[in-house]
């Protein structure tokens, strides 16, 4: 008889100190030149972030059942194109990766690959409680429990399932954070790549891809 007593999984240690997920990133350059005038740098960063926030291209990729809530966003009722958002079928042209619900360890490999192929700056949205604490799959043998151990999450949208309205609210929150220059998870990922890779490789035992997928 197997032991039916359920225990919480042991979590890896917190990421190293020094870089917080929301630390500002110096982005104020124009054609490769960094002007010395602080106000100009500020204006440049604001302009860039405004463009990025108003043209979010979402990768059309669903990992779990939450992706069923993404489809209505393109329809007449919710219409995310109002906010300049569009679905892109290739990671090379996407800016937002949505982990929609539970993430199987098998999918994690593909998700990492897709995430690393996206051009920076890029943002990850964790959709549903499965990405926060495992949700109803918290003791499953083949799903992950905490997404931010493996990928830098910029916005979580809680719920099981969150409705399309909740998604739109989450996206507008993400847009606000981008405009303020706070959504810098992609930078955190690069700064703490070793820590992320260590966590990823603990789960993916058949690691047969490069350490970083360009």
């Amino acid at each position: 008889m197997t032991d039916t007593k359920r225990t919480l999984p042991v979590l890896p240690p917190a990421p190293p100190e020094g870089a917080t997920p929301h630390a500002p990133v110096d982005d104020a350059c124009f054609l490769g030149e960094r002007p010395d005038v602080p106000k100009l740098r500020e204006a440049l960063a604001t302009i860039k972030n405004w463009f990025r926030a108003n043209s979010l291209w979402v990768m059309a990729y669903g990992t779990g059942c939450g992706s069923i809530e993404l489809r209505p966003l393109t329809t007449a009722r919710f219409d995310m194109e109002r906010f300049g958002m569009a679905m892109r079928p290739t990671p090379r042209q996407s800016n937002v990766l949505i982990i929609s619900g539970y993430l199987a360890t098998k999918s994690l490999k593909r998700v990492i690959r897709s995430y690393e192929q996206m051009p920076a700056p890029k943002w990850v949205v964790g959709l549903g409680s499965c990405t926060i604490n495992g949700g109803m799959y918290w003791d499953s043998y083949n799903t992950i429990n905490r997404l931010d151990l493996y990928l830098p999450v910029d916005v979580y949208i809680a719920g099981c399932m969150p409705r399309p309205e909740a998604l739109l609210a989450g996206f507008s929150y993400l847009m606000e954070r981008i405009k303020k220059g706070e959504a810098n998870g992609w930078h955190h990922y690069l700064e703490n790549l070793d820590w992320y890779k260590e966590n990823q490789k603990k789960l993916i035992t058949d690691w047969d891809m490069p350490d970083y997928n360009w």
């Binding site: 982005d27 990025r52 679905m87």
Partner: protein, 303 residues
């Protein structure tokens, strides 16, 4: 007009054409959204998309040809635009038209896509060659009715110069080739549907089947150059059709109205039709459009 001034006016024309092409892209997205009962993005959304892609921090490329692909496409669009006189009798907007430019313009119609094919091929993604194969097959098939229509129009005007073809259509609406040679016009405007790659001829970049076709691997700054190239290419095609079939334009507002109508012919068809498979598209273009093109040539021969 001195050459330097002419170059300056042509450069201004290219910039206006890019802005016009991008705005038309925004209007198309808005129209499509309204047809589907949505609110749709703002009309200036393509500008935001272009700026966003320009401000990406990282870009991935796969070699020299991959970088040159969007450059070729933009060069094809700009080259095509510069060969076509936009406003009749206005030396500022006549660009660099010369006798025999129609043949070169037809070459430039192909040139951008061939450059893209080479570039996207080096991207190495399996979906790119599928899209390229479909695109070139479709292009070869609509080139036949379009070529027949162009031959008919050129024979009718007695010249391969676009400026002279425009001049031969002056004197009233019924002198336009649209009415003077209706068969050739039917052939050319059906070929235009395939040229613009809206439904039913949009399997080249079918998002549900092959992600986005040829540009699957293109990202960041490459993509924004490609968007600008696509915009000017669309405008150049519209202006070419305006000159060949609608008697050119005598003022800038007239040019805007005519090109808008020409382009939205393909958009409105695209809004209500489902998608052809590649072999269906080829069969379509080799059927009635080609027959209309032959009828157009015969009409000129036995007039």
């Amino acid at each position: 007009m001195p050459l330097a001034t002419k170059i300056a006016w042509s450069a201004l024309g290219v910039l206006v054409a890019i802005a016009y092409g991008l705005s038309i892209g925004g209007v198309i997205r808005k129209v499509m959204a309204r047809i589907q009962g949505r609110i749709g993005p703002p009309v200036w959304q393509p500008f935001i998309d272009l700026g966003k892609n320009l401000f990406m921090r990282s870009a991935t490329h796969h070699g020299v040809m991959f970088i040159l692909g969007p450059v070729f496409r933009a060069a094809g669009g700009i080259g095509l635009f510069l060969l076509i006189p936009v406003i009749v009798g206005d030396p500022r907007f006549e660009n660099f038209a010369f006798s025999g430019d129609l043949l070169l313009a037809m070459y430039f119609l192909f040139f951008g896509s061939l450059g893209m094919a080479l570039g996207a091929g080096e991207g190495g993604h399996p979906h790119s060659p599928i899209g390229i194969g479909r695109g070139l097959a479709q292009m070869s098939s609509f080139e036949l009715p379009f070529g027949l229509a162009v031959v008919a129009i050129a024979a009718q005007a007695g010249s391969f110069s676009i400026a002279e073809i425009v001049a031969s259509q002056q004197g009233g609406v019924l002198h336009w080739n649209l009415f003077a040679n209706p068969f050739a016009s039917v052939a050319a405007f059906l070929a235009f549907l395939g040229m613009n790659m809206y439904a039913p001829f949009n399997i080249v970049g079918a998002p549900q089947e092959i992600p986005v076709g040829p540009p699957t691997e293109y990202n960041s700054q490459f993509l924004s150059l490609m968007m600008a190239g696509r915009a000017i290419f669309a405008v150049a095609k519209m202006v070419l059709y305006m000159d060949l079939f609608l008697g050119g334009a005598h003022s800038i507002p007239e040019a805007f109205v005519k090109t808008f109508l020409i382009y939205f012919w393909s958009v409105f068809v695209g809004a209500v039709f489902p998608r052809f498979r590649t072999e269906q598209a080829i069969r379509f273009f080799l059927g009635w459009p080609t027959a209309a093109g032959i009828a157009g040539v015969l009409l000129v021969m036995f007039r």
